[in-house]
């Protein structure tokens, strides 16, 4: 579904159907209303990843392998990237972040999308013994 | 309107000759048109090129023409059909090493026609260093048609060829003047 405010009349569009990434200059980092970051694909998701800070080692595998740019990192006081939060507006629930998570138990796990995060954290499994 | 038809073989410079004549005539304030009939044929194929010269703008873009002059710059083409669409007053200027008598004997179709002969191949070989019969043919045309004084025409051609090495320019000028003198 398209947001109503974007459905303009023919005379209001930029000639040539061009789209812009930013409002103003890029370094101001204000995305244009036509940047897909403004668009939610949350309704694609059946299961969602939940992050458990307790086990996370900030390896950032989940960040680099997320196909939906939905692992939003933070920067620590040393200027290094660490796990920040999950962008549930753009996460489609593919589960790659869980698959690539190296910790034991994993710091990211999939849960039903409607399950509250607090409940998911309560259900977190124990460390798995190596077979 | 003055109309000319060139008979040549592809690669002998008829198109260049047509353009050169256009250039010189346009310089004199005339309206000109030059074109040729192109095909997929390659070097050596018989081909035609055309000039139109007039006081008024030339807006006819058909190929239909009854030429005032037929210029033949390859000696062997006299044996082909070069007599179509001509009128009674059409004059032929022909590159050949033959005499008028020899030509009439070899090609009876020329009987009763106004023909002028000049050996542009030999002239260009001797003066320019290669068989390029187009510029000497223009010299011969000046003589037969009286369009320009030969010195004026040679001077215009000299300017036109400015991009070439001096040796080539001089050779062309000599060839033009010699053809002017030798055409009969």
């Amino acid at each position: 579904m398209t947001e109503e405010h974007l459905l303009k009349g023919w005379e209001e569009f930029e000639p040539g159907a061009t789209l812009f990434s930013f409002e103003g200059k890029p370094d101001q980092e204000v995305h244009h209303e036509n940047n897909s970051v403004q668009h939610s694909v949350a309704d694609w998701r059946v299961d969602k990843p939940v992050h458990n800070k307790e086990f996370c080692i900030d390896c950032q595998f989940c960040w680099v392998y997320c196909p939906d740019t939905s692992i939003i990192p933070d920067v620590d006081d040393k200027g290094k990237g660490i796990f920040g939060h999950i962008d549930y507006k753009h996460c489609k629930g593919c589960g790659i972040c869980v698959d690539v998570c190296p910790t034991n138990p994993k710091s990211l796990l999939m849960f039903a999308d409607h399950l509250p995060v607090e409940e998911a954290l309560r259900q977190w499994p124990e460390k798995e013994e190596k077979k | 309107m003055l109309e000319l038809r060139w008979h040549s073989r592809a690669g002998q410079g008829a198109v260049t000759g047509v353009k050169a004549l256009c250039d010189v005539m346009a310089h004199e304030g005339k309206h000109v048109q030059g074109f040729s009939v192109y095909g997929a044929e390659k070097r050596g194929a018989p081909m035609n090129a055309f000039n139109r010269v007039d006081e008024n703008p030339i807006i006819d873009h058909s190929k239909a023409m009854k030429p005032d002059y037929v210029l033949v710059i390859d000696p062997s083409l006299v044996y082909t059909d070069i007599h179509y669409d001509i009128k009674e007053t059409t004059k032929y200027i022909i590159t050949t090493h033959l005499s008028k008598e020899e030509l009439l004997e070899a090609v009876p179709a020329f009987a009763g026609k106004e023909i002028y002969l000049v050996d542009c191949i030999k002239i260009s070989q001797e003066e320019i260093g290669r068989a390029m019969p187009n510029t000497p043919m223009l010299g011969a045309l000046m003589k037969v048609s009286g369009l320009f004084e030969i010195d004026d025409f040679a001077g215009s051609m000299e300017k036109l060829l400015y991009k070439f090495p001096q040796k080539i320019i001089d050779g062309n000028v000599k060839a033009i003047k010699r053809a002017y003198a030798e055409v009969k």
Partner: protein, 400 residues
């Protein structure tokens, strides 16, 4: 304006206008009969006469693709092609106009195979009819030169921002040497003006996306915006042509006319045949016959209103189409017929398919067509077949 007189063929006229326009990128691929444009431009590059980039691509498809890339990047762009090359470009012609990129294309018109033919007819121009380009038609080298300069100015006008094709007949114009006048380099460039970029990809301060996918909710609006620009361009084209007349003394109209005021039989045509037709008109007028000529200069957008001005009083109109319509009436005929209906005019209409693959069309042929039209005028109705041929060997062939 002091102008230089020179002898150029249509291809050289196009090449020289391109040189004077100081194009930033030319991406081109040679094809007869537009090859000399690409060759001439290569020589300009070799001689240091142009500053822009010249990209010799591997096909016409890539030529137009590189032109679209270059134009969206933010500079002046032009190319040239003919026939099969035009056909290969066609996909990208739609992209260029849809993205509203002011590219100038010298279309040296040539027949489309099969069977293969290198000579001039309008099959390729007709093929590009609906591609959303402004299409102008030049009937001789002087017009090729003049319309090229105007094409850049029209295309780049902000309210237009559409690609422009300057069409000329293959060989009949492209390889025909004529005397013409041209402007000094600086005056020609001043007329066109500096390129004013709009949404250039190369500006890192404003990243832009070209060529998005517009599905059902969007496509219609964008196409109609394009349509609006096309209709809107009449005014700009008129203005640019007027400015050019002021500068050069040479006047161009959407529709050129000759002896139409009291004409009872009119021929409507496009391209180099217009000059020959004018001579046929002179010949018949000398015999007291009331004949006239309308030559369409602007093929797209089609000047319906302008054309209507000349067709209200005539008895018979013969439309010449230089392309086989293959199953209907010719494209130009259809435009004229629509103008007649729209205005409630009721002259007899005839359509000739002529000149395919460079077949000659002489004053005599045109005289014959006028005389045939006269029979309809005298009868007050169409007494000839709707579609006829001229200068075609074999049994008489006509349709409808």
């Amino acid at each position: 304006m002091e102008q230089n007189r020179i002898v150029w063929d249509g291809n050289m006229a196009a090449s020289q206008a391109m040189r004077q326009a100081k194009i930033d990128v030319v991406a081109a691929y040679p094809i007869t009969p537009s090859t000399p444009i690409v060759q001439n431009y290569s020589q300009f590059v070799a001689d240091g006469d142009v500053d822009g980039e010249f990209v010799m691509v591997e096909s016409e498809h890539s030529a137009m693709s590189a032109c679209v890339g270059a134009a969206s990047a933010g500079g002046r762009v032009a190319t040239a092609t003919s026939s099969q090359g035009y056909a290969l470009m066609i996909e990208v012609l739609y992209q260029a106009s849809g993205m509203r990129l002011p590219i100038v294309l010298n279309a040296v018109n040539r027949a489309l195979a099969a069977p293969l033919n290198i000579h001039g007819d309008h099959s390729d121009m007709y093929l590009g009819r609906d591609a959303g380009w402004i299409n102008m038609v030049a009937n001789n080298p002087q017009e090729v030169y003049d319309l090229n300069l105007c094409a850049f100015k029209i295309a780049e006008d902000y309210s237009v921002r559409l690609p422009v094709a300057v069409n000329q007949d293959g060989f009949l114009v492209s390889h025909t040497t004529e005397a013409l006048n041209y402007l000094p380099d600086d005056e020609a460039y001043k007329f066109i003006g500096d390129y004013k970029p709009h949404n250039p990809m190369l500006d890192p301060e404003k990243p832009v996306t070209y060529g998005a996918q517009t599905e059902g909710e969007w496509h219609y609006e964008h196409k109609m915006r394009h349509e609006h620009a096309m209709y809107n361009s009449f005014g700009v084209i008129e203005k640019v042509l007027a400015e050019y007349k002021e500068l050069s003394g040479r006047e161009y109209k959407f529709v050129e006319t000759y002896q139409v005021d009291d004409a009872e039989e009119i021929i409507i045509c496009m391209g180099s045949v217009a000059g020959t037709t004018q001579l046929a008109v002179d010949k018949l007028r000398a015999e007291g016959k009331k004949v006239g000529l309308v030559s369409v200069r602007l093929w797209r957008p089609f000047p319906k209103e302008e054309l209507a001005k000349y067709l209200g009083k005539t008895k018979t109109i013969t439309v010449l189409d230089r392309s086989a319509p293959l199953g209907s009436t010719g494209a130009l005929y259809n435009e004229v017929a629509a103008v007649m209906v729209d205005n409630g005019y009721n002259a007899v209409l005839l359509n000739y398919v002529y000149g395919l693959g460079g077949r000659d069309m002489t004053i005599d042929h045109l005289t014959e067509i006028f005389n045939s039209a006269k029979e309809c005028s005298d009868a007050g109705k169409r007494v000839k077949p709707l579609i006829q041929t001229i200068n075609l060997r074999g049994k008489e062939l006509s349709f409808y």
